[in-house]
Symmetry: C2
Subunit: 153 residues, 2 copies
């Protein structure tokens, strides 16, 4: 896999911003003609740098007004406890992200709910009823500050 040059990074930034831009418009923005621009996009896709394309949704318009980060600590149930925890997580659609982390806790979850009552129900009836879960700490997202750069470079 060849190293990326500035034009490749420019292409990636544009495709992050608009995943459905036409090759003609993309070529125009990055200062190439359509043919090599299309070749570069295809190479980025084939190399796996671009994993795919996805619609970006407005969760609030779907009735999911509240998102939270929940830090979860597990203990005392060995490998099966972790396995059961991950099974329970995978079965819950309101959990959109699940990370194993190193730090003060074991897992970090991103969860979407309609209101605070649903959040309370989720924490009590779903999370804390998983045997291996010994401690949860919930951070309610009050605001997402938009980052101007859509790519970390």
């Amino acid at each position: 896999m060849a190293a990326l040059d500035e034009i490749d990074r420019h292409i990636l930034r544009e495709l992050r911003r608009n995943g459905r831009i036409s090759i003609l418009d993309l070529a125009d923005r990055v200062g190439l003609s359509p043919t090599p621009c299309g070749r570069r996009v295809k190479r980025l896709e084939d190399d796996g740098v671009i994993r795919g394309y996805a619609a970006t949704l407005d969760n609030a318009r779907l009735g999911l007004n509240i998102s939270v980060f929940i830090m979860v600590r597990l203990s005392g149930h060995g490998p099966e406890g972790t396995r059961d925890f991950l099974s329970a997580v995978a079965a819950r659609p309101e959990i959109t992200e699940c990370f194993l982390v190193a730090g003060n806790v074991d897992y970090m979850l991103r969860v979407w709910v309609g209101d605070l009552e649903e959040l309370g129900d989720f924490v009590r009836d779903v999370l804390q009823s998983i045997p291996a879960v010994t401690e949860t700490s919930t951070m309610v997202v009050l605001k997402e500050e938009p980052q101007p750069e859509v790519l970390p470079f």
Copy 2:
């Protein structure tokens, strides 16, 4: 904005999975003919349920092997302190997400770096040199557990 039915949700799930699927294929998957399927997609876009489309990248292939969550506590610098913090955050491309949260801390950041040395430099030279930042707590992501459902419903 009319309420979404099951077909609309099916369309959203498919577009989350593949934001570049053709209307013909999408219609086939959701059990509609192309004309009404295209109308629904357009309505979801116009209503703002679909905010846009974006390429999904493999950050590791871009040399960003490490992602972390960093919880930040601010204090003692009033509104200007917060403003300066947010300006500093907005200027750093390695910070891809920034959330104001309610909980044990004030802000939650998602940060991407190439290696642990860069992480250390970032925490010390960038984050902790911001006057209002009084405390940071870093969680290194060891693994992202994929959630089978791509939508929280």
